[in-house]
Symmetry: C2
Subunit: 477 residues, 2 copies
């Protein structure tokens, strides 16, 4: 549907940033997700993960963190004193921050194309939840959903506290012991003000409410869930995810097609590719990762790459390389000769461009999403896949803007390690010392239909021809 918008709402019905975006039927309107819970219960990590997932799977989502607004009013965090229920001036600042965050979220939801706003904050009082509901549901006619994070597990609480001390902007300038004491007291103040939403027939508002116990490990309780976005969110938040997570990724070793510059196909490894497979196995095995799993595509070159590793393996079609349909197994030179129009179209809009009877990056993202959601629940998985697929995988974890995903650099013979740190993933790369071709093709400057063959060929990576002659001496990076 290249010529249509992604958003399900007709622009004629819900247009304009000035006028509120009133939709005639609420079930298709925007949604505000409000977090509820004491500090250190995993709200912000969940809000962040949820927003990453929703954005990747096509729902334009934005997080509004109330503490960011509070920090605007109080540049330097002082002490827990400001969270005391009887500290009226501080209460006013907190209340003002809550309102500003809520109103900015509401304002954004009225813009065209905005779908889901997440209001991240404690929202511990009934009065605050009523205010959210009155503005979003009653006044704007949009939808609201509450997600409460409850945690009583001492192990989880200690871990969450440590995370806050390490990553919260409030504690950057405080010694650890002092910070821990302060956080404990802050927590006590919040507990005194906490009115947990009750569920069942007692839940106070006519909108969905989900209670997550111990980060999902203790189960969930949900009430009044209706609407496809709400169900999608429920499905996502009901699964417990690890707090410590390390994931490994690699492309297959250099293939015979890589060497001669052909795309797609199901070629086997080149001699250098086989060396990489050995080297990868040695490196991974030396890490002694507990419960290591290997996920590969179903193509020869990834299976051959993983074959030497002693660990349970599964081969998934979802990890297969982008399917280039009628262009499978061609070289860029042949593409230029037989499909010049197609190649120009692809260079112009690589994310959406679909090969004739083949796939686009958007198609790959769609088929890959269930696997990514599964992967997010695991640790110590080595995924061996392909250039385009790993671009989409890294795009998820690193939140690359969609249009940039087709240009993410994922070189051959390189192990990529992602580690969850705070709310984000940290990436490290380990380049193995085994030579290989570079298959990265940069976007040509000229993508017009009238461009010359030279314009196109400029960015084609160096490769060998059928008689073993290197066709280009300056590799592109």
């Amino acid at each position: 549907m290249a010529s249509r918008t992604q958003n399900g709402i007709d622009k004629e019905e819900c247009k304009g940033a000035q006028a509120p975006r009133r939709c005639p039927l609420r079930q298709f309107g925007p949604l505000l997700v409000a977090m509820v819970g004491l500090p250190g219960r995993g709200k912000s990590l969940l809000a962040k993960r949820l927003s990453r997932y929703l954005n990747y799977s096509g729902d334009n989502t934005k997080v509004y963190d109330i503490s960011d607004y509070r920090r605007k009013h109080m540049k330097q965090y002082a002490t827990h004193e400001m969270f005391k229920p009887d500290n009226l001036p501080a209460w006013r600042i907190r209340q003002q921050s809550f309102r500003e965050a809520l109103e900015e979220a509401a304002g954004w939801l009225q813009q065209p194309d905005s779908r889901i706003a997440i209001l991240d904050g404690p929202n511990v009082s009934r009065a605050q939840r009523q205010e959210i509901y009155d503005l979003i549901y009653v006044q704007l006619g949009f939808r609201v959903m509450f997600i409460e994070c409850v945690c009583e597990d001492p192990v989880q609480l200690e871990r969450n506290f440590k995370e806050i001390l390490q990553y919260s902007a409030d504690y950057v300038n405080m010694a650890t012991e002092e910070a821990l004491k302060d956080l404990t007291q802050k927590m006590a103040h919040y507990k005194a003000q906490y009115e947990s939403p009750t569920l069942g027939s007692l839940w106070e508002l006519s909108c969905p409410m989900v209670k997550i116990l111990d980060g999902g490990e203790g189960g969930i309780i949900a009430h009044g869930v209706s609407g496809t976005k709400e169900s999608k969110i429920l499905a996502y938040v009901s699964t417990a995810r690890p707090y410590q997570q390390t994931l490994y990724f690699s492309r297959h070793g250099e293939s015979e097609y890589n060497v001669i510059g052909r795309i797609g196909g199901d070629a086997n490894l080149s001699p250098r590719g086989r060396l990489y497979a050995q080297s990868l196995a040695k490196h991974i095995q030396a890490l002694n990762l507990p419960s290591l799993q290997i996920w590969t595509s179903t193509l020869q070159r990834t299976k051959a790459t993983s074959a030497g590793i002693q660990a349970p393996q599964i081969h998934l079609h979802e990890l297969d390389e982008i399917w280039s349909g009628e262009c499978e197994s061609l070289s860029y030179e042949e593409l230029l000769e037989h499909f010049p129009k197609e190649l120009a179209l692809r260079d112009r809009e690589k994310l959406k461009y679909r090969y004739p009877q083949g796939e686009s990056y958007e198609d790959v993202i769609r088929r890959l999403t269930p696997i990514l959601i599964q992967l997010e629940c695991e640790t110590n998985v080595l995924t061996i896949s392909h250039q385009a697929v790993l671009r989409c995988v890294l795009g998820y974890f690193l939140e690359t803007p969609p249009e940039e995903i087709p240009y993410v650099h994922v070189p051959l013979h390189t192990i990529i390690k992602l580690t969850l740190q705070g709310y984000n993933y940290n990436m490290e790369t380990i380049k193995m010392p085994i030579e290989c071709v570079d298959t990265n093709r940069a976007r040509p400057l000229n993508c017009g239909e009238n461009r010359s063959a030279e314009d196109v060929l400029k960015t084609i990576p160096a490769h060998y021809d059928s008689v073993g002659q290197l066709k280009k001496l300056t590799p592109c990076t």
Copy 2:
């Protein structure tokens, strides 16, 4: 991905019907969903709806109803006596039926390409649940998920009882009063044997468990949900759906393009199409449906068709006609002239065939699914859309085999009414007395690449040419 299988599991790893389909990593293996609950709690309706949804959205799913197996052993249902806890011979038959259903489900899950089996039955004892778990999880290494339906709402219970009396095979030959008395006693016997699964740390098995209260209206409680299929199922079952449901559908009135035999485009209504719009509005308005809603596509011809109806309206891109890309606005004659190869490919595999830079029926099904899930939660909605889209919509509710969906007959100027009856939808059509062209094109007998133009044109529906001449006198049906 025309050349690849849909199933995410590589055939090399999990092949063969003889050897159990052991997957190296359980999270990608088959899944058994076991229902739990007293009779009349909505288990079978939910199992049926879930299976309809899963099959439509690409998970090969089959329901195994324990009472079907029981009926094989006892052709004629006698009385509630057979459900008495101390009726040992009858207990043996029920236990045998439980085992047969479970074993057939397990056998099916070991076939390639089977994904999800639903074991529908009371499964009220811990021992039965342990047996399910031991066979599926421990012995076969697959996954298990339990869904318990609990209902205490007297209104729902009465309605469910009525449904059983009306639709259950057990009561076809019994007078209503007698049947009601029998059912009440059967229920009492089951209650005596019911060991409701407890949740939280007390839940007896290490697999997901979802408890649905009052058909979802009382909320849900879930424990240990992990895995993308389990999350997808949780999302589906957590929403309450109406027990009485009537949905209306119509194509737009005859368009200017219909008249001259062109596909796609965004033409307006023909004079006869405008007459249909008036007639449709009059018909629908006369029904006086409470809370009537109109959902249309964003194209001119559906909006013009709904314009005269007094009800809230929304225009959704998901309901737009299949996008025929480079073939938009062409006639079949022009298609045959400019895209003969494409036309032949489409005739050969219409479900999967994707127009150049356009959509396939499978693409339409994918984009439509969230809307269908929403529609399943509503009643008194009139959906005004297009031929291909309504084929996919009816295919969902009527469970048409996917390959037949592109050939479902959805004529112009006809109102289609679907009513939920028991576990299935009943379809009625109301043909309005306003003439129109027939746009249904049957699959040509010859779909080979070497076929003649005449072979192709044989099934093209009658339409007018640019000077108003009818190009074919025998309409195809």
